[in-house]
């Protein structure tokens, strides 16, 4: 499956990188390899682990259509909870936004935005910044 890097994903990477949300070692040894697993989604055992991968839900706990969350725990010096929202539409993977989950409020805001991103992808109104290979 092709993994598309959207403008939103690139912006969020720049933000997290500047904030030292994760170390270079964590990025290369854990985060990037995990994201590359999406190429063979759902055929990897990690996609069955709820602590790593789950459907995204909105503020009413309703599943967001085509939306998923990839999760990492205790990353960087701040031991933060990292999230990456991923849209899977027609066997194409769209990396949408990575963020630190400070609390539940932050999560709800990000997931509301994620709904908008998915709708824009469905409409074909988004910006591609690269393909992850």
């Amino acid at each position: 499956m092709e993994i598309i890097i959207t403008q939103w994903a690139l912006d969020s990477y720049l933000e997290l990188k500047a904030g030292k949300a994760f170390s270079d070692e964590e990025y290369w040894n854990e985060i990037r390899p995990d994201v590359l697993l999406l190429q063979k989604h759902p055929n990897d055992h990690k996609f069955t682990q709820g602590k790593f991968w789950s459907p995204a839900q909105d503020r009413n706990h309703k599943n967001i259509s085509n939306g998923y969350k990839m999760k990492w725990h205790n990353k960087g010096d701040g031991k933060v909870q990292l999230r990456l929202t991923v849209g899977i539409l027609d066997e194409t993977c769209f990396l949408c936004e990575a963020y630190i989950k400070h609390d539940e409020k932050e999560d709800r805001r990000r997931l509301a935005k994620f709904k908008v991103y998915l709708e824009l992808i469905r409409q074909g109104s988004y910006t591609v910044r690269g393909i992850l290979i």
């Binding site: 720049l14 409020k105 509301a112 935005k113 409409q123 109104s125 910006t127 591609v128 910044r129």
Partner: protein, 183 residues
Amino acid sequence: MTVQAQTKRNSHKASKKTFLSGSGQSIPSEQVKLFEIAIKMKKSGLSDNFITNSVQTALKFEGVADLMNLWLDENDKKERDAIVADIQDMIDACSQKEKSEEIYIKFNDLEAIAKNIRAFKDSLYQEVMKRGGISKLSELTEIPQPSLSRFFNSNAMPRRDTVLRIAKALDLNELRIDILWSK
């Protein structure tokens, strides 16, 4: 392009489902609630321009309606400001009408790009401070203050539209912005 590939590309659009048709709750009551939130936004001092754009976008995008509802339920000012900045980000995102492919950036170039973005925003911020600060800029551009604060504090690529609005408001005749690290 093969017929199969063409079908696959168009199928993103085929599943188009908006807030207007996809909400599980009664549509008129959801819409009326947005107008009620708009009135509360007005009372809180948000600009007419921002409120109008918020409602118009929320009527088409359920996620923006969710953000407006989160704003209503929130009492903490800092959190409310974050939601306002999110709504403005979504209004901007929803103004894009077609797919665009910007220049692909090599991973090894990202660090230099991040530095360029930071330098650009810091330099522009100095101009803003010389001309009355963020509050004044918000009045001139009708961009909410929380959005402007996020613009200058974040390390995301600057939107060319936003930079242009700021430049016009401040009467800046010359701003160098690189297409590689703007959007």
